[in-house]
């Protein structure tokens, strides 16, 4: 069973919590996210509204909140929809279980960065991705180790993604045209 939460009341948004979960070391799993939702509900931050069971059905509210009757609909724009929520949580799970544990991701590289790299890796030539993303990960791990600001790291990730896509496009176009540039 997987729980998804909207943001019916005050407190950090669900996307903030997912980001915190992704940055945690080790990353939190689905069970941790459920625990957070329940804990925050107890202290009155008013999170969860509904969850999706194993068969994909939306099930009634299972946690009571201050000032809100279980089952009451929440405003459409306050509730994270199932598909993006699934993508976010699946992303956290993917990074947590595949990259760090199996692929040996450097422990200090943010999971969101690893997730982005992993997505890009599936759409660009293997050699381009492996070489350039690998080099970038080494730089990012070193920058983090030396206390670089988060904004700097984010810029580094963004520039890496940009150049990987540009260089991959060059490779693909060059191969498609059969060009052997000298």
């Amino acid at each position: 069973m997987t729980t998804f939460c909207g943001k019916p009341g005050p407190g950090p948004s669900w996307s903030v919590i997912v980001r915190q979960a992704a940055d945690a070391d080790p990353p939190w799993g689905i069970e941790d996210l459920e625990t957070i939702a329940e804990h925050d509900a107890r202290i009155g931050l008013q999170y969860c509204s509904w969850y999706i069971d194993g068969f994909g059905n939306q099930v009634t509210t299972r946690v009571n909140f201050k000032g809100r009757v279980p089952g009451d609909p929440y405003p459409e724009d306050e509730v994270l929809q199932p598909v993006p929520a699934l993508a976010l949580v699946a992303g956290v799970s993917l990074v947590g279980t595949v990259d760090r544990e199996r692929a040996g991701l450097p422990p200090n590289v943010p999971s969101w960065a690893a997730l982005l790299f992993r997505i890009v890796e599936h759409v660009v030539p293997k050699r381009v991705a492996g070489e350039q993303i690998g080099d970038a990960l080494e730089v990012i791990a070193s920058d983090i180790h030396h206390g670089r600001a988060k904004a700097w790291i984010a810029l580094k990730v963004a520039s890496t993604l940009f150049w990987v896509m540009v260089n991959a496009t060059r490779e693909i176009v060059g191969a498609a045209l059969g060009r052997d540039r000298k």
Binding site: G104, G130, L137
Partner: protein, 104 residues
Amino acid sequence: MPVAARAALLQVLVHGEGFGLDLIERVRSRTNGAVVLHQGSIYPALRALEREGLVTSREGDPLPERGGRPRVYYKLTALGQDEALANRDAVIGLFGTLIPEVTR
């Protein structure tokens, strides 16, 4: 490919094989910052050199700090050695005394 990038890469590879990050640092330090390669220039430059038969590449072992991805090492071919030697004067002209190994 910019002439400076190409010439600098050939010259630093004379001193042994290297991978992308390593070559960026070697070019930067040996030109005292006169030539700074970055992600947008070094990989296409290395690929171009490889297509020209001046360098060959090999994959190293997968490394944990790279998320299990291998480094790609480049080294000069015999043709590349000749090209580097032939360009030696041009490099001295470009960088003057900024590459000590070249001017010796």
